[in-house]
């Protein structure tokens, strides 16, 4: 066991995978010599060479499109988009090629590809270095969307993602990159895709969250002694409806917390699933604590991001609902 932060855990996982399988290649802007603007790919070009760790020209559409072609022809590419905010010029490639390749070829051209990208706020990045774009991708059949909230899961989930023969959007909460260190085993292990993790147990309420909001939710629960289940979704598509069901049937009260804007965020889909399947178990309306339906401002960012105060207030409201 060693302790690592999330950057180190991801770096270590990529390293492990690359040394085990020479069809694994990395491509992206500034990922080679510079080691990535967040240093996630530090040292990998030196170790594996420019052919396997490519500093590409500045063109996201090209990075993603080329990665798809590599996957079609025998490689297992892991492209990086420097900030999720810049993924949108590659949107067509993701939505119309990547997501649909298996379907439109009846499974003849699967795409073993993991698209890594940092997302989310909390780093004073303003409008274009802070967005949480998960909903765009979760709305797209054919994609798998994964986001870890700690170094241990980052390794386990990335390993599992890279084993898959389907394209994964691997969203890395940049605010947590260096926020905390955790024990990360050196040896190979997997965390299952599509499986949420119960990160706190309680009886009175279920808080469903993921990614950058997990530590904030946990600290709120601890400080306020909330008797709550906290579910870290980890995979956003497909959603682990079984874990949600088990918890909600136990507690009957639900809060969903995410940083992305409220309208058509993950909270909307989760509420719909709960309403459809277990509304009779609910004692209170479902509450969403989310970013507002505005872009993320630079100077006033702290008002944008859900915080302990808002989560605690929502908890009180849910618990006191009669």
């Amino acid at each position: 066991m060693t302790t690592m932060n999330m950057v180190q855990a991801i770096n270590h996982t990529l390293d492990m995978k690359m040394s085990a399988d020479d069809s694994v290649v990395l491509l992206g802007e500034d990922i080679g010599v510079d080691g990535g603007v967040f240093r996630v790919t530090e040292g990998l070009q030196k170790k594996y060479g420019q052919e396997r760790v490519m500093d590409t020209p500045l063109v996201e559409l090209g990075i993603v499109g080329a990665a798809i072609g590599m996957a079609i022809n025998g490689l297992r590419p892991v492209p990086e988009i420097q900030f999720q905010d810049f993924i949108y010029t590659a949107f067509d490639q993701i939505i119309n090629q990547m997501a649909k390749m298996r379907y439109r070829t009846a499974g003849r051209l699967p795409l073993p590809l993991v698209l890594r990208t940092p997302y989310g706020g909390g780093v004073r990045g303003g409008i274009y270095h802070s967005q949480s774009g998960e909903s765009y991708f979760v709305h797209t059949a054919g994609l798998t969307v994964v986001t870890p909230s700690n170094p241990y899961d980052a390794k386990g989930l990335l390993s599992s993602s890279m084993d898959m023969n389907d394209p994964v959007i691997f969203m890395e909460p940049k605010r947590l990159y260096r926020a905390a260190k955790a024990e990360v085993p050196e040896e190979d292990y997997r965390e299952e895709i599509g499986k949420a993790k119960l990160v706190h147990e309680g009886d009175k309420m279920t808080i469903i969250t993921y990614g950058s909001m997990v530590p904030t939710v946990l600290s709120t629960v601890q400080k306020n002694n909330l008797d709550a289940d906290v579910l870290d979704l980890r995979t956003l598509l497909p959603i682990d409806v079984d874990s949600i069901e088990a918890s909600v049937k136990k507690t009957g009260r639900v809060m969903i917390v995410h940083e992305a804007p409220r309208t058509l965020g993950m909270g909307a889909e989760i509420s719909a699933l709960i309403s459809e399947r277990m509304i009779e178990y609910l004692y209170a309306p479902i509450i969403r604590v989310t970013g507002p339906d505005t872009p993320i401002p630079y100077r006033l960012e702290e008002y944008y991001l859900p915080n302990e105060k808002r989560i605690a207030e929502a908890a009180e409201k849910i618990l006191n609902f009669r």
């Binding site: 010599v33 020209p57 507002p292």
Partner: protein, 337 residues
Amino acid sequence: MTEMVNEQTERERHIRAYGAMILSRTLDRKIITAQRQGRVGFYTPSMGQEAGQIGLSMALDKDDLLFQYYRDVALMIHRGVPIETLINQVMGNKEDLAKGRQMPSHFLAEEQNFMSVQSPVATNLPLAVGAAYAVKYRKEDRIVVASFGEGSSSTPDFHAALNMAAVWNLPIIFFCENNGWAISLPVEKQTKVDIWKKAEAYGIKGLHADGNSIDDSYRVAKEAVEHVRSGKGPVLMEVRFFRMGPHSTSDDPTKYQTDIVKEGDERDPVVINERLFKEKGYLTDEVIERIKAESIRIVNEKFDACEKIEAPAPETMFQDVYEKMPWNISEEMEEIL
């Protein structure tokens, strides 16, 4: 007599150009230092790119419309943008024209015809094409300029913009500021051909200048402007210079770059243009010293004043998403504040 007047105006133009360069450099230095002290969140210096930008500015008219990028401080200063406008943006305070919504370096100064900077590079280029179409449609007497780094020439936006502008024969200059690097990627790994030569592929005029010389940049920009104004269609103009220092305050160039041009280096445009202007008799040591001292005084004074201005009021965060605030945003505002 007219010769004397011309000489006088030539001299004044050059002193003004030099003044803008020094003011821009002084402001850059101030913001970088303040960033290190934790008084500013982030910054992308313009250092090293001043001469080319000022050469362009000198060839333009007041009414021309600019879709600039994040490293155009000298261009903005030379075109009369008050430095308070720039500093307030960097601070994101309540006097910032965009209410502190954008990261530092994402300037707006629409009164001086500077549109708003975005982060996703080159996405300003198609916008400039549309604005140039409107210029033509409305028979306005102005041209449009879109600026960008050489790395940005790899984007689909660059291709789309040049192609459309060419097909529509629009009054637009694509001004490529080639500082040799796109963060850590050197230009040789970005493209296999000189940027300005790409013009030919789109059927438009390509020009290039020594971006380290105000005079050379001006000479070429003038040719570009004349071409565009006379209705002959778009120009792709490339200026070359050095990125002096990091890509941004978050970047460590020593990881990938060995030859970094420092201030005072013989490739520093301040050194180069000072020498050239002195040779031509536009500047004396005394004038240089005065301009430098005055720039420091102005920058310090304005910076201190702007730094004291408070943050925008929290409710401003919810404004301007739409002309009228919809119910969902008002509810969220109520919940959050």
